[in-house]
Amino acid sequence: MDAQYYIKDSLIGAPQVPEKVLMNAFANLLYTNGDFSAGLRYESFQDVMQGFDPRNKGNGIPYRFISYKSDELHVTVGNIYEQFGTGIILRTYQDWNLGIDNSVDGVDVAYTPIPGITVKGLIGTQRFFFDKGDGIVRGLDGEVSLNDLLKGFAKSKTKITLGGSFVSKYQKDQDPIYKLPLNVGAGAGRINIVSGKINIVSEYAYKINDPSTANSMIYKPGDALFISSTYSQKGLGISLSGKRIDNMSFRSDRAVTGNALMINYLPSLTKEQAYTLAAMYPDATQPNGEEGLQAELTYNIKKKTKIGGRYGTDITVNYARTGSIDRQQVNDTTAIGQSGTMGYTSDFLKTGKVLFFEDFNITIEKKINKKLSGVLMYLYQSYNKEVIEGHPGAPMIYSHIGILDLTYKIREKKSFQLELQHLLTKQDNGKWAMAMLQYTIAPKWFFAASDLYNYGNSDNSKRFHYYNASVGFIKNANRISLTYGRTRQGILCVGGVCRYVPASNGLSLTVISSF
């Protein structure tokens, strides 16, 4: 349960909330008996908290299911969370912090007729807050493990898995302006090769004409390519990944925007940052078109060496970049992206000219002695606010970020954590500094205080302090935390999917309980 008592704070732009207190809460119940399981989730929004879609208003049981699972067959009726491959044509999931639940209410069957082959199929309508979406989603997925299926591959050290999927949505055409496709299909093929220390995953998807609000009602087909490869051995990890997305927003209601009724999931290829200032300018996937790459090297310097020290040192170097795809006019008289046309043409092998996001970061993690350990981090980020937040004319933001995170154990159960962060930029709101001190009495209590200070804002009257104080109590599977302070306006992203967070001031309470 999350609840907040809101205090108007005109300085930072926190509005007056007439209800004073708002709450988002849920309770998951899961029951398993042998091959059968059943579950439900009760949700209550009294009223919807600031920053979440107000269409969540209400309370009820929007999620319930019954499932049977044997060696060969897995059948679920009710609300279904499912993913085909990497999710680029189908992924239904729930994320409470983002306010996302795109579960399909219907029937899901997974069947393994012979070892090495699994076929999944589902059909249903998607959750739309406390209602259902207009469209019907149908999906079929097959996966073949060559090593399990073919005798010749059985003893091979190289494991190969092939997969293919097809998803189609149906929605009535009630639009008086455009001729719309009632059935829109998307197909994908994928391969996964694991050979010793190397793992390669790749998936390509294609979607036919799907004019929607998200793509400005253009009739161009969409496609997406995702490749990820990793190499790992003791003390060393290397990963390389790339993607190209072109017009791949796929929803069961063509007219809906925001984070509702999404059928597919287009992952972000950037490192998800946890520290406040490192996450101040986060990457958001652009379903209408983007291409990106990411490379990461993780190296462990052995302990008891000169550089590694007594306990060893972990170093991670990461670089990620996303930008626009090539776009050309369909003809001389049609503007790029013009509604009711094919929209544009795009050369798969050409890259676009606009940088969306770039993040170069180095992280050093080190245990200095028995009592002291720390994380040192440097990041250089480029953030296209105009594209990612949709503010035309906003400048590209270039920032240097430094972070020091020290944990000092006083005794076995008592420790202090000190976080110092600094962000340096000439654009947007200028420079920021943050300090956070946390005292933990494991495993039950923690006390924390922090201040985020926009000391470099070019407008002196906007050099605000965003102070916070919190206390938390954990016992068994129950966790209660109480926080008082200010939250700055920004966006919160998880895996490239984002929601707007408005400025607020007040007292918030979070209760998590499992039994």
Partner: protein, 284 residues
């Protein structure tokens, strides 16, 4: 092996069925236009579009509204509500204030969280659900779902405008076209058409700066003649042909062009805010 063959046959059939679930649309992609300027009694629709001069996507919303107006003619009445953060008066060319208390009240009450969005006759709202505010490409479908409903009531507006005092006096006559039960309210708003001001845009090759300096704002809500939520028109049971008469007046701000102003009067169901009839008439 036998089981595998059966499985493969079922799988093949499933694939064929699934792959046939694709509709490729060929040009032209637009529907042909039909005449909707019917003069017989019909239920009209009010499209209340939430917009703002610093909302770059909003010109696209206005285009959709005009496309729908071309399709539905007199049956569709447009109202642009400038409210929320992106409509707040700014500096320089964005200094013009097109907000009004009525618009702000509607924006807050219907919990508008994005632009360009709008409500078609406020349908979709209830005390437990808030699905009245729609993205722009849903407006047409919502109109289609309402357009064959039998009209419950008629609304007729007569305006008298005093050029000296800049006062408009509106007489609104309503006739029950069917027996009515429940509480219905009547509200009258004033809109001003064709206000020229700056508007943010994006991806428009004609405006590489993303600012349209001479954008024409259509059907802008200026205020209410009888408050945001209006007055009670009918309660309890009222037989067919019951007549209701209301009079309202408003003094026009000196900055408003009276020749471009309209009175919009609508009757709505007080239990769910759904507008059951709407009309508009020029002030002068």
């Amino acid at each position: 092996m036998k089981r595998s063959s059966v499985f493969l046959a079922i799988l093949s059939l499933a694939i064929v069925i699934f792959f046939s679930a694709c509709d490729k649309v060929k040009p032209p992609f637009k529907e042909s236009e039909t005449d909707n300027n019917d003069t017989t009694a019909t239920r009209n629709f009010l499209l209340e579009e939430f917009t703002g001069h610093e909302c770059p996507n909003c010109p696209q919303g206005a285009i959709v509204a005009q496309q729908l107006k071309a399709l539905y003619g007199n049956r569709l009445i447009l109202l642009s509500i400038h409210a929320g953060e992106l409509a707040d008066p700014g500096t320089g060319q964005f200094a013009l204030n097109l907000e009004c208390p009525t618009g702000n009240e509607l924006f807050t009450f219907f919990q508008v969280s994005a632009y360009p969005t709008g409500m078609v006759s406020r349908s979709g709202w209830s005390s437990t659900q808030n699905l009245a505010v729609l993205d722009k490409d849903s407006w047409g479908a919502r109109i289609e779902s309402l357009k064959n409903l039998t009209p419950l009531i008629s609304v007729e507006i007569s305006n008298a405008y005093d050029t000296t005092t800049r006062t408009v006096n509106s007489t609104i006559e309503c006739d029950a076209l069917q027996a009515m039960s429940g509480t219905y309210k009547i509200a009258a708003y004033l809109s001003e058409d064709s206000i020229v001001t700056a508007q943010l845009t994006e991806n428009d090759p004609n405006y590489p700066s993303n600012i349209i300096p001479d954008y024409v704002d259509r059907h802008v809500l200026r205020g209410a003649l009888n408050s945001t939520w209006g007055d009670t028109l009918a309660t309890g049971n009222n037989p067919k042909n019951t007549q209701f008469l209301k009079n309202y007046s408003m003094v026009l701000n000196s900055a408003w062009n009276a020749k471009h102003c309209y009175v919009i009067a609508f009757v709505y169901d007080a239990s769910n805010y759904e507008i059951v009839q709407v009309e508009e008439k020029k002030v002068r």
